[in-house]
């Protein structure tokens, strides 16, 4: 016991804090893989088994990993790959090829990327191929080891798989899956996508070559498990010499409420990391621990309505125009309006009920209206703007009733007659 205590070194607070920041940031900014993915044991086993069969036994396979954004598809795959490459002879043989639907927007670009990642650029040289299939066959042929008859196993990892389905004729997908079905070379095609309906995007001939093996990552954490996760995310590893953070806020009810709210809106880790990142950024040498107030503040920043923030910064004239539009929406039940109608409604208010708003010229009001259009708080209904004069173009308001009323409450120094007008419209007499 005492020996261990002597081993503990006490670092100065500043360095301690930077160590803590480094560890936690690596975790929250997704730069380091966790030791073991949480809550995905069966999927992990399944995928590992599949890839091992390709890498070691030369069996061709195809699989799709499907899950919403932030559910951990790439993380799962990377964990499995890490474990796979630890086996010695796998490491020497297997060739991973990473393709991304966002980057390789064309089959031609994809083929060049495959050539590059397999380090076969010299071999291909200036050869011209008749078709995609020929090219791919040539590449796989070139991977054959010296005296052996079978080529090295290749793992094709297709990120944003659904984007590949939008290419012309889906040639890349067709050819890759064709290779995985025929006995040409041991190939594993792993697709990652966020669309649950990805199979509907595939053509019939592509779909038939796919093995229809799907791994779903639908998070099934209960709230208690979620809390445990939060705790483990914020705790420091065992070999860290100094502090432990979480004891303080563990039992605080307000923190549990905040986390409950986050859990209700999204269970995935990504939004949790965002929240914790905001809380972490307040930690510094002068404030060494994460306090419950930090978490509350971070939550408030995450949950705020951005449009309300924008409404806060509008001028009074622009706010009056928005209130006029709200009344028009109430009267005409959401039918589109044009600038003239809004202006008339505004003038009704000015003539009868206003004491504080000056009667502005029409061009000034038009400028305010155009500013609202630039902020995309109102939108024109049709895209052709040339034919109709701008005062008569039909527009739609992109805010709803409650957002406007809430913004009015928070608006600084709002004149009372404007507030009254928002609640009670000026009626025709």
């Amino acid at each position: 016991m005492s020996k261990r205590k002597v081993k503990e070194t006490h670092m100065p607070v500043g360095e301690c804090i930077s160590q803590v920041q480094m560890i936690l940031r690596e975790r929250f900014c997704h730069q380091r893989l966790p030791e073991k993915p949480v809550g995905m044991e069966s999927q992990h086993k399944h995928l590992l088994e599949l890839l091992r069969r390709t890498a070691v036994h030369g069996e061709s396979n195809s699989v799709l990993i499907v899950g919403p954004r932030g559910s951990g598809k790439t993380m799962l795959l990377n964990c499995v790959l890490r474990e796979l490459l630890e086996v010695k002879d796998v490491n020497k043989n297997v060739l991973p090829v990473h393709l991304n639907g966002l980057l390789q927007t064309d089959d031609r670009i994809a083929l060049k990327e495959i050539t590059r990642q397999l380090n076969l650029e010299n071999v291909v040289g200036d050869k011209v191929f008749g078709s995609f299939a020929e090219n791919l066959a040539f590449l796989l042929e070139a991977l054959k080891k010296g005296d052996r008859s079978s080529s090295r196993p290749v793992l094709f990892i297709l990120d944003e798989f659904d984007l590949f389905a939008h290419h012309k004729n889906q040639t890349l997908l067709y050819n890759l899956l064709d290779v995985s079905q025929s006995a040409q070379a041991p190939v594993a095609v792993i697709g990652l996508t966020c669309r649950l309906d990805v199979l509907e995007l595939l053509e019939k001939r592509v779909k038939s070559r796919f093995s229809h093996r799907q791994i779903h990552l639908l998070s099934s954490l209960s709230f208690i498990q979620y809390l445990d996760n939060v705790r483990s995310q914020l705790s420091l590893p065992q070999d860290f010499p100094d502090t432990n953070f979480y004891d303080e806020w563990n039992d605080d009810q307000s923190v549990v409420d905040v986390l409950q709210r986050h859990y209700n809106s999204s269970k995935d880790f990504r939004s949790l990391h965002l929240l914790l990142m905001l809380a972490l950024s307040r930690v510094s040498a002068s404030k060494p621990a994460i306090k419950p107030t930090d978490l509350l503040e971070a939550s408030r920043v995450c949950m705020v309505d951005s449009k309300a923030n924008i409404l806060h910064g509008l001028s009074i004239l622009e706010l009056c125009l928005i209130i006029a539009m709200k009344h028009l929406n109430d009267i005409y039940e959401g039918e589109p309006f044009n600038f003239q109608m809004v202006h008339n409604e505004f003038k009704k208010f000015l003539q009868r009920k206003s004491h504080s708003i000056h009667n502005f010229d029409k061009p000034v009001v038009i400028k305010a209206f155009e500013h609202l259009q630039q902020l995309e708080l109102i939108k024109s209904m049709d895209s052709s703007t040339a034919k109709i004069q701008k005062e008569y173009q039909l527009m739609k308001l992109l805010l709803d009733h409650s957002q406007i009323m809430e913004a009015l409450q928070k608006y600084p120094q709002c004149p009372t007659d404007v507030k009254q007008w928002a609640i009670v419209p000026v009626l025709e007499t």
């Binding site: 997704h30 730069q31 924008i310 502005f360 000034v364 005062e391």
Partner: protein, 375 residues
């Protein structure tokens, strides 16, 4: 945090002139972090965007590695290559100003930049600045959600403070503050954009201190100064604020006021459109034809001779007079109906009532008598 990881993407939003790019750039410069800043307005093609990102981060020969019209795949590959040669422990920052324009470029650009850290496997953070809220950026199938930060707008007091810092060297700051107070009193309910207000302050200060220079009033006579400047500020709202006259014209106007005691000439755009005589009549005729119901035409025009025609006024092989097409180019008339009806084109008048009344006054034609809505 310099040697440590940073969140892959940050989205900063707020009104114009709330200090977003200013604060970011000042921070990056003071902390001496490696960064590249690009304004998306300048990037008409993606190649320009990529070049402007690579040049500040990796030096001047880095852009030559990109091909002529690079794709995003090329950019990521080149970036990875350059990273290997020049690896840095510090986080690199890429600042994209006016990021709302990224939505109109290629569809893969925005999602790729949000997760650039993952794609290039380097410690890089992308900061997006915009005045439009994040909800309007999100692509259909979702993307990597950035950290959202809001830059709040300035309150009236804060605006007063900031604007007062521009004070003129030969006058006291209290005088300038009083001027700013008056300016805000006129403009604050219409416009809260710091840049516009600074511009207006700069243009009008000379007029404000005119009575002081002429020795008519003392500095402490704020009431008299206010009385002098207020009508000018109101006129500025109708003209310079709306950009109907340029700033140079406005300054000349302010100086000319001294000599011309009579009525102020209308500075609006209407006075600047000079049309030939017949074109004016054609325009008036077009307005009447467009806005009066067809059945009332007879009532108005039975006794009138043929200067005023109906929209379908062409005889079989006649070409429309060239004045019509020039009015069309000036966007005073809009063509309605299909383009293939070449021998009987239909037009519609596209001017407002004020404009046409002004025109008709110049030809001494009493338009109001002929307008159905005014009977």
């Amino acid at each position: 945090m310099m040697e440590q990881c940073s969140y892959p993407s940050i989205f900063i939003y707020g009104h114009r002139a709330t200090g977003k790019s200013h604060v970011i750039h000042t921070l990056l410069k003071e902390l001496e972090l490696p960064y590249a800043t690009v304004s998306c307005v300048e990037c008409v093609s993606v190649g320009l965007l990529f070049e402007q990102v690579l040049l500040p981060l990796f030096g001047s020969d880095s852009a030559s590695l990109l091909s002529r019209s690079p794709s995003l795949s090329d950019f990521v590959r080149v970036y990875k290559q350059l990273c290997v040669q020049a690896s840095a422990k510090q986080t690199r920052y890429i600042v994209l100003d006016r990021a709302e324009l990224l939505r109109d470029m290629e569809a893969n650009l925005l999602p790729a930049f949000l997760r650039l850290q993952e794609l290039v496997e380097d410690n890089v953070t992308v900061i997006l600045l915009s005045e439009i809220v994040w909800d309007k950026f999100r692509p259909n199938t979702g993307c990597f959600e950035p950290l959202l930060l809001h830059f709040p707008d300035y309150s009236k007091g804060e605006l007063q403070q900031i604007l007062s810092e521009d004070s003129h060297p030969s006058y006291s700051p209290e005088l300038y503050s009083a001027f700013i107070n008056i300016l805000l009193g006129v403009f604050y309910s219409v416009c809260r954009d710091l840049r516009e207000l600074r511009h207006l302050a700069a243009l009008n200060f000379s007029k404000f201190i005119e009575p002081l220079e002429q020795g008519k009033v003392k500095e402490s006579d704020t009431h008299k100064l206010w009385r002098n400047i207020e009508p000018h500020l109101k006129k500025a709202m109708q003209t310079v604020y709306l950009r109907e006259v340029s700033s140079v014209q406005w300054e000349q106007q302010l100086q000319m006021e001294e000599k011309e005691a009579g009525a102020v000439r209308g500075l609006s755009a209407h006075a600047h459109v000079e049309l030939p005589y017949y074109s004016k009549f054609l325009l008036i005729a077009a307005y009447l034809a467009s806005y009066n119901p067809a059945r009332t035409d007879k009532r108005f025009f039975l006794k009138h001779h043929g200067k005023i025609k109906n929209t379908n006024f062409l005889k079989k092989n006649e070409k429309p007079p060239p004045q019509i097409s020039s009015l069309g180019t000036l966007q005073l008339l809009n063509q309605v109906g299909h383009d293939d009806q070449l021998d009987a084109p239909k037009y519609k008048c596209a001017v407002s009532l004020d404009f046409i009344l002004a025109i008709s006054r110049t030809v001494s034609f009493d338009m109001v008598k002929y307008l159905y809505d005014f009977l």
